[in-house]
Symmetry: C2
Subunit: 402 residues, 2 copies
């Protein structure tokens, strides 16, 4: 099978060869490898890294990429080489792995509410000459940071997290909590870094116009809170915003200092459905083998323990299946319609592939696919090489890290 294999697909409007070729996952070299396997196309990965760095550089903001997407020291190294200013993590164990590897600063964009993990991360960061930045959105969290810093005999850098519409973590921008927290921070031994937000609701915005509106709201809310703090005599050193969709579909970064996107290194079908990229930007796919077939379905060896059951980020499911499956033999993708734990059911839609043939599947949500995988395989011009997933929960547990 090659990219030039004859097209046996019979139904559906044929795509132009150029668009179709660009939309396909990179097949080259993957046929020889066992499945299921999570493959990353090196050229697309590097293009994605360069693209977001250009957005940051052109916009005059620092890029602190979120490593929860790849959990890989090698990919974070590529991001750093391209110009990233630090990394962002969403779990203390992830942060610990990147601190040990010397990435600095590490922003833990996740509120800790007990002193112990704070103290452990600060001690570890001190040992490795790394700066770690925390977030807080409650007095309980701030007290945990104070107690943790005291226990570690250090100060700690702290952002106040602001809810800009996801209604997950973050202080209500209209309430007085943010001001109270900032005043407490100013009076403490902790260092106030500024305001941080994550407009994750961009994943539910439906289209690029909707995402632009979310990004504009995020920026406006942060600048409003900054203004209010200034009126209380509190300077805001930094403003930090996140979410891949709201940064791809941005309308400028006036007043913003740094950005923290994660998903952009790989993108996935959620990004395609949102309209922020085409399939030719998807750098991650799952290689699977057809192990059985019946009238309606090909059964492949990638189920929910490989693809995950995610329909999209932040429970923003599209109802469009669990991934898009491509074959070198077909001129259109097929849909992964059901998942068991180790089996995926791909709708045949009139096609006729054999047991043993390969499919490459673009998943809905790349971040959770990486979290499930034992390792990644980098495909670079036909050569395959292993790409370690370093910051796993299991690595964390075995190292007895925070």
């Amino acid at each position: 099978m090659s990219r030039r294999a004859k097209r046996t697909g019979s139904s559906g409007k044929a795509m132009s060869i150029t668009a179709e070729t660009a939309a396909r996952p990179a097949f080259e070299g993957v046929e020889r490898l066992e499945t299921p396997l999570v493959v990353v196309d090196a050229a697309r990965l590097k293009a994605n890294i360069a693209r977001m760095q250009a957005i940051a550089t052109d916009g005059g903001v620092a890029l602190h990429p979120h490593i929860k997407t790849h959990k890989s020291l090698a990919i974070a190294g590529l991001q750093r080489d391209a110009g990233a200013s630090g990394v962002t993590a969403s779990h203390p164990g992830e942060a610990a792995v990147f601190i040990r590897a010397g990435f600095s600063p590490v922003t833990l964009a996740y509120p800790l509410v007990r002193p112990e993990p704070v103290a452990r991360l600060l001690t570890l960061a001190g040992e490795h000459g790394v700066r770690v930045r925390f977030i807080a959105d409650s007095m309980t969290g701030l007290e945990a940071l104070e107690a943790g810093a005291a226990k570690a005999g250090q100060t700690a850098d702290v952002f106040i997290k602001v809810d800009v519409g996801l209604h997950r973590c973050g202080v209500d921008p209209l309430a007085e909590t943010g001001i109270a927290l900032a005043q407490r921070l100013e009076a403490s031994l902790l260092t106030f870094c500024g305001l941080l937000s994550h407009a994750g609701q961009a994943y539910g915005a439906g289209n690029v116009d909707g995402i632009r509106a979310v990004a504009a709201t995020e920026r406006r809310i942060l600048l409003d809170v900054r203004e209010r703090l200034l009126r209380h005599g509190i300077e805001v050193p930094l403003t930090s915003v996140g979410s891949t969709p709201s940064l791809i579909a941005n309308d400028g970064f006036d007043g913003i200092d740094e950005i923290r996107p994660g998903n952009y290194v790989f993108f996935d079908m959620t990004a395609v459905r949102l309209g922020i990229v085409g399939r030719e930007s998807l750098s991650l796919a799952v290689s699977a083998t057809i192990i059985s077939r019946n009238r309606d379905f090909y059964i492949v060896d990638a189920g929910s323990k490989t693809l995950s059951s995610d329909l999209g980020a932040h429970s923003t499911g599209s109802g469009a299946g669990f991934g898009e499956a491509w074959s070198a033999e077909l001129d259109r993708p097929l849909s992964v319609e059901k998942l068991s734990e180790e089996h995926g059911m791909v709708a045949r839609k009139g096609s006729d592939l054999e047991i043993g043939q390969r499919l490459l599947i673009y998943p809905n949500h790349a971040c959770v696919v990486v979290n499930l995988a034992p390792r990644l395989t980098l495909l670079d011009g036909g050569r395959a090489s292993p790409l370690a997933i370093d910051a796993t929960r299991r690595a964390d547990a075995s190292a007895n890290a925070p």
Copy 2:
């Protein structure tokens, strides 16, 4: 906080204290441990193991429990001690871990279609004095088994997988494929073990009556295929059926030789919604901490990377959220309504818990929660001890196993 803490819940009909106490996850000892954590109640686990063993023993069938649920050598040891006759796995890497530990036979209830993993498993099994049993539902699969066995210089035990209604893997019971495969098996160096099925559609049957109908159909189909093979002069040594729901809600095992349930060691909210058990049988829960809160939600430190996005087995989602959260402070459970990767959003429904408080969450699907966890923690009369998850993909990858 203890089980006897005052009930501050204000709305909803109060459950009787007995039912409510039985339905709660075991809190004892968990408060001291870090979160998120997957905890297993030892007493409930052992009761579940004893219950399924009694179903098998009373029904005169052998129990070959599916270890994809727990991936734990220690729990499989409890199942063996209780009377299990072997184990079932759904991934070659899982099978390899249990072969190395000496469990026999290991049934790989998953069709392999390439010779290499077959040869590797047979060689490994030979080294460890273990019997391994395969399944096939296609000539491609049978050829892979023959080639793999030849490569390993061994014979191989093979079941023919029959589709009894899940329409995933398995030969169509009305087609001639099963007869052709059995004839080929008889003529080969492979050993024909019999017929094997998995009525996974029981998870979508809605209630106990529906499940009974699924189980009856499964049994009838297998016995019909056996009858047809006999008319072709082919003896069927064994019939093997699976799925926890169809075994809990069974109407007898006439003509069946062995059963392969998995989920029953833990059960989960899917089993509760199906009506096959009450919450007092749920032996697995996720311990989480409230890290933030807003008007509508408690935000906890267990997201899709801990609870999974599964709504139920085999894409049989209920739409009832991602888990049921219990607090020692409330007299009713709350619903996990949305998931980010590291955050769960639990609907407050008028309750007033503080940041830092713990919730115990019964997940929708225990098997995928274990697959995500770095380890399990066994709670036994207030004592906590680690419970290794041995057969992970990562363990498999690092051991370079099949």
